[in-house]
Structure formats: C-alpha cells, structure tokens
C-alpha cells in the first residue's frame, strides 16, 4: 500500500482521504459519546475546563457538523466530480491545495477549541479564521464551477448537481455565520438559516450525491428517471433552507417567516416522493446482488426518509408549538448528519477495491456492524423525537394547568419523562462509537490485507463522442 503525500491526481488524493475518513468518523462519534456521558453524569464526574458538557457540546458540534462535514464534502467532490463530468479535474494542484485548505481551517477550529476553549468559533463570529474559511470555501466553489463549465458529458450527472448545491449552501452558511447579533430575533434568524443551509442542505446534498452514485454505479442499476432526480434536487434546494424557522415557533421571529417555513416544510413531501420512487425503481434493476452492500445503502436511505418525515410531521399545526425549541429538532439535524455517515460506509467499502486495488469481502463483522450502526442510529433519532414530544407536552400541559414546569418548579415532572430516553441515548451513542471502530477496522483490514484486485484508473473521455 502506497500513499503519496503530494498526490498527482484525484485518484491519489482519494487514497489519502479514504484512509483517513473512518478515523474522522470515529473522532466525531467519540466526542459525541463523551458529550452524552458528561450530560447524563454531569454531577458525578469530575469536570474541568475541557471535560464539561458545555464545551464538549461545542467541540462535538464543531467536529461533526464542520470538520467531518467538510472532510466528507471534499472527499466526495474529489472522487465523484471527475467521474460524473467525464474529465480529469482541471488545475488539479490548486484544487488539491484548496480542498486541503477547507479541511485544514475546520480542523484548526477544533484544535483551538481544545487549546483555548474561549476562542472556539461560534455564530456571530467575525474573526480572521472565519474570513479565511469563507474565502477558501469560495475558492473551492469557484474551482468546482470551473470544472462543471468544462464538463465533457452532455448532461450533468445528479451527483455533481448535488455537490454543487452543497458547496454553494456551505458558503452561504459561512456568510450567515459572520452575521452580527443586534436584536433578540437575530439569534433565531442566524441559527435557523445556518442550521438549514449548513446542516439540512449541506449534509443531505452530500448524502444524495453519494446515494445516486452508489445506486447506479455501486449497485450497477439503471437510473429510473433523471427528471425525478431533478425534481428532488430543485425541490430540496428551494425548500430545505426555509425549514429551520418552524423550530423557533413562538419566539421573536415574525409570524410570517414561521408560517412560510411550516408550509414549505410540508411541501418537502414532493421531493421526498420523487426520491423514493426514483430510488425504489432504480434499485429493482440492480445487478450487484451483495446483500450487505444493499442493506447499508437502504439503512442510510431509510434514515434520510425518516428525517424528512419528521420535518413534515413537525409542520402540522398542532405539533409545531409542542416540538419547537425541543430535542425534536435534534433528531432532524442528527438525521441528516447520520444518513450521511451511514452512506459513507458503503461508499468507502465500494472505493477500497477501486482506489487501493484490494478486494473487499463482506464478512460476518461487516454484516453485524451494518445492523448495529443502522439500528443505533434509527433508535437514537426516535428517542430524540420522543424526548422532544414528551418535554413539549409536559411544558404545555404545565403551562395550561397554571403550573409553569418550564420555569423549574415542576421540572421534576418533565425530567421523569425524559431522563430514561436520555440514558438510552447514552447507551446508543456507545453502540454507535463501537460501530465506527468496527467500520475503521473493516476498512483497514481490507486496505492492508485484502486480496489484490484490479484498481480504477483515471482517464479522460472525449466529449466529442456524444456530439
């Protein structure tokens, strides 16, 4: 196994990234687990400036939603962009450095969080590091657009479309990040738009880019309809950025924006249906009969679909006031993020033979891990939704009965309803951590000890063939 420090093309670069990706996933899962531990046992465990729930929550979010997200985005762009545009990446050295820069600045943010917790970037920040981050992501977007303009295929494959959408909204989210907080409602504006553009659009679009690649190339199936793919792309692109406001129902946000958010969230059913039909009809024609590979993709798809359903449910007029400002929203943001993490597993397994020329065999370990990870994610999302509904009900019921549990007097009632799901959540985060270790193990085992097989080479296909 040879890994070049200075890669010459996207294939070499993918080699480095595929090796590191499982480790980044483990880091994210580890911090998430630590965060859960320090929440459930906050008054038992000895705390310090680093090991306390508040900071771990910040760092865990930074690692998961920024570092892991940017890493995944760059890996996916590096591998998929050239494949779906039918050409090698133009001005690769600059592309390589920019991609590295995107990951690098997000990583620096994580390091700062550990070294100097007070300097960890949060919303409303206008530091030099954030400016640098914005400029680098802008440059990365520019290079991607340049490649798309220079495409050699007649059509733009869906994976590329979703990747372009993800990077553009990543940039928008960074612009939102820099906004100042002047009046009370700014807190909700900035957070709602950042949440929707960065996590909802960003994570789901990278997920969908990988999904479309895996169900056609990975499963060797025939894409059912490009039109349905287009409906899901434009539908999600237009609707998702507006869906975050409804979780701040009843706050200082104006009513009109909450209502628009509710209606547009309900409309998510359209791109979701288009996606479900396209996925089901495409998967039927698959020629790759490996059951575990299909199961892994299915789990990721189910989690993504479930998350969209949660978005729609939380838009129902009777439900919105209950679930706003509760853990219910967490199940949605986790849903988008975890569907991305889940799809990374078959993606990495699929790429090991292509990039490293090593055969990947789905053994008992991989089968066990597929179900372990899938179940822990699905249960975790369900528990967060349950916590959100329970606490929302308790606060509303308390308020209606004249006993404002929301202020703390009757908080024990609320806590009795949500403490058990929280404990389960801690257990599930442990299982998730374990499954990320197993994922890393499987990947390393295949890279180091897998039987030699034919790997993929990068060649440019002349666009003239189709013209």
């Amino acid at each position: 196994m040879k890994i070049k420090l200075i890669p010459k093309n996207e294939q070499d670069l993918s080699k480095v990234f595929i090796f590191l990706l499982p480790l980044v996933v483990v880091l994210s899962a580890l911090l998430n687990f630590l965060k859960e531990v320090f929440r459930s046992f906050a008054n038992v465990l000895p705390g310090n400036q680093i090991l306390n729930y508040g900071l771990l929550d910040k760092i865990s979010n930074q690692v998961t939603y920024n570092f892991l997200f940017s890493f995944t985005l760059v890996v996916t762009v590096v591998y998929l962009l050239s494949k779906s545009l039918g050409r090698t990446i133009i001005i690769f050295p600059i592309f390589f450095l920019t991609g590295l820069g995107v990951i690098g600045v997000e990583f620096v943010d994580v390091v700062i969080g550990f070294v100097s917790p007070n300097l960890l970037l949060d919303l409303g920040n206008s530091s030099v590091l954030l400016l640098l981050k914005t400029l680098i992501v802008g440059a990365f977007l520019g290079l991607i657009l340049l490649n798309v303009l220079a495409k050699k295929e007649p059509s733009i494959f869906l994976s590329s479309q979703f990747l372009v959408g993800a990077v553009i909204f990543y940039l928008i989210s960074l612009l939102v990040y820099r906004s100042d907080f002047v009046v009370m409602s700014d807190n909700f504006y900035v957070n709602a738009v950042y949440l929707s553009t960065h996590i909802y659009v960003g994570c789901s679009f990278v997920f969908l880019a990988i999904l479309y690649f895996l169900i056609t190339k990975g499963l060797q199936a025939t894409l059912f309809s490009k039109t349905l793919g287009g409906i899901s792309f434009w539908g999600y692109l237009f609707l998702l950025p507006w869906t975050g406001f409804k979780y701040f129902y009843g706050t200082t946000l104006p009513d009109w924006i909450e209502n628009v958010s509710i209606y547009l969230s309900l409309s998510l059913i359209i791109p979701l249906l288009a996606l479900i039909v396209n996925y089901s009809k495409t998967v039927i024609t698959k020629e790759n009969k490996d059951p575990i590979f299909s199961v892994l993709i299915s789990f990721a798809f189910v989690v993504f679909g479930f998350t969209n359903v949660l978005q729609v449910i939380s838009s129902i007029s009777n439900v919105t006031p209950i679930v706003s400002l509760t853990n219910f929203e967490y199940s949605v943001r986790y849903g988008y993020m975890y569907s991305l993490i889940l799809i990374l597993i078959p993606f990495v397994y699929h790429l090991v033979p292509k990039i490293y020329g090593r055969e990947f065999i789905y053994g008992r370990l991989e089968t066990f891990n597929a179900y372990l990870m899938g179940m822990s994610v699905v249960l975790g999302l369900s528990l967060n939704a349950l916590i959100g509904i329970n606490s929302g009900f308790a606060w509303n019921a308390g308020a209606n009965a004249g006993n404002p549990t929301i202020y703390g007097e009757g908080f024990l009632i609320t806590w009795s309803l949500i403490s058990t799901p929280y404990t389960f959540n801690l257990f599930l985060s442990l299982l998730f951590l374990l499954s990320t270790f197993l994922f890393t193990l499987s990947t390393l085992k295949a890279i180091i000890g897998g039987a030699v097989t034919e790997s993929e080479t990068v060649s440019e296909v002349s666009g003239g063939t189709y013209e």
Partner: protein, 264 residues
C-alpha cells in the same frame, strides 16, 4: 433509390431525410454504399454488427448516461467505450437514441445560474431582508435599549462561554409569545452574549425569570449549586463549575440574579 428510401422510411416510420442521413453515416462507417445499406434495412438485415450486440450497447448508454461512460475502469478502457458508442450509430433506431441523448444536453451555465439564483434568493429573502427589517422595527420603537451593568455583561459572557444556553432557554412562549411581550423592543444593541444566551433548546428549566423564583434567587444557594450541584439537589444532573475562578463565578452569579429584569 428514392423508392427504396421511401420504402425504408415507411418501414422504420421515420422521415426520409433522417433515414438518408443515417444510411450515409452508416455507409461511411462500414465501407458499403448507401444503396446496400438501404437494401439491407429494407430486407431487415444488418451488415456489420449483429443486432443483439447493438441492443446491448444501446442499453449501456441508456442505463447510466454519464456514470457508465465516465467511470473508466481498467476492464473497460476509454477506447472501448468510444467504440461502443460508435456501434450505436449502426441502425436508424440508434440514431434516434443518439438524437435523444443530444436533446438532453444540459447547459452547465444554465444549471450554475439556477443554483446560484436559488442560493441568492434564499440568502436575501429568508435571511438578510427580514433580519434588517427586524432591526429597523426595533430601532424605530421607543424604549428599545437595555441598560445593564458591566458585571452583568461579564457574567453573560461567562454564561455564554460555558454554553449554558445549550440546555437552558430564556424565552417565554405560548401563554405570552415573545413577539408580543415587548422583549423584542427592549434589546436593541444589547451585548451579543445577552442575545445568544436566549438559547435554542429547552432541555433544562427556562431561566428568563430565574432571579424572581425560589431558590434560584438566593445567592448562596445558587453559588453552592453551581460549584457542587449534587450537594443541594441531586435528582437532576447538572454540571459542576468548580473550575471557575472566584471572579468569574461572581460575575456569573450577578448575571443569573439579574434575570427577570434584563429580559422582561
């Protein structure tokens, strides 16, 4: 030849001009004359490649228009892919397929413009414009600023750095929506930390009236609770902030004891 052409066009159900063009292309590729090609089509025969082979290649192009061609593996080098596409041109049906592929040609520029358009639209209409409107609304209102001491502001910053807002909100809702209770009018140019401290997730109790209630309005109780929560209330886990300096703890206490005044 025109009779033959008409016959073939009738058999294939295609315009004569298209059939003529296809036959010419085919003739050039195979080295036969146009007449021979037309005769073979009229008789339903193929000249160079066998029909099933052609069908298969067409299926490849239809199945995954971009990926299958773009992902070039060692087993299927680029030249082969080109050859496969060339074979597609061997029959009139394939010409139709080719034309349909050509019709689906997507403009990168149009796509990029569309996506950037949606992004700019979202940024301005979901964020920049309503955010500025809210600020203008507050600026035009009376009594729109808050006055807090430096100690309270420092305490708000300690609260923010400890990320207390990840569990506690400072919002009232439902019974009296925040947008009606005057809060929005009283926080113009408030310190950033004070605004951020309103929180987004209601896990623990809401603290907007913390200083007006028992026992959180008691400084010594609150101090003990923050340093060692289990010593005064162990039913609900709460982090211990015994690592805070005494100055920071004092600032934090001052801030917490001001809640109920600052935000109301």
């Amino acid at each position: 030849m025109s009779e033959l052409l008409a016959k073939v066009a009738e058999i294939l159900g295609a315009p004569e001009t298209l059939v003529q063009r296809s036959a010419e292309a085919r003739a050039e590729a195979s080295g036969n004359t146009v007449d021979e090609i037309l005769q073979s089509w009229a008789g339903g025969e193929t000249i160079a490649a066998s029909a099933p082979e052609v069908k298969e290649e067409v299926a490849v192009v239809e199945e995954a228009p971009v990926e299958e061609v773009a992902v070039v593996e060692e087993e299927a080098p680029v030249e082969e892919v080109k050859e496969e596409v060339a074979v597609v041109e061997e029959a009139v049906e394939q010409v139709f397929e080719e034309e349909s592929v050509e019709l689906k040609n997507e403009s990168s520029l149009a796509f990029i413009t569309g996506v950037i358009g949606v992004a700019i639209f979202t940024y301005f209409f979901a964020f920049a414009i309503p955010k500025n409107q809210s600020q203008d609304l507050v600026a035009e209102s009376l009594n729109n600023e808050i006055e807090v001491s430096q100690e309270v502001l420092k305490g708000a910053q300690v609260y923010n750095e400890l990320n207390c807002q990840s569990c506690h909100t400072q919002n009232v809702r439902l019974l009296i929506p925040d947008s009606q209770n005057g809060k929005i009018l009283k926080n113009r140019f408030a310190d950033e930390a004070i605004i951020k401290n309103t929180g987004l997730l209601r896990l623990g109790p809401d603290l907007s009236t913390s200083a007006t209630r028992e026992p959180t309005n008691n400084k010594s109780w609150l101090s003990r609770y923050l340093k060692d929560s289990a010593s005064v209330r162990d039913e609900i886990p709460h982090p211990n902030y015994d690592f805070l300096t005494s100055t920071d703890l004092d600032y934090l206490l001052t801030y917490l004891l001001s809640l109920g005044e600052v935000n109301e």
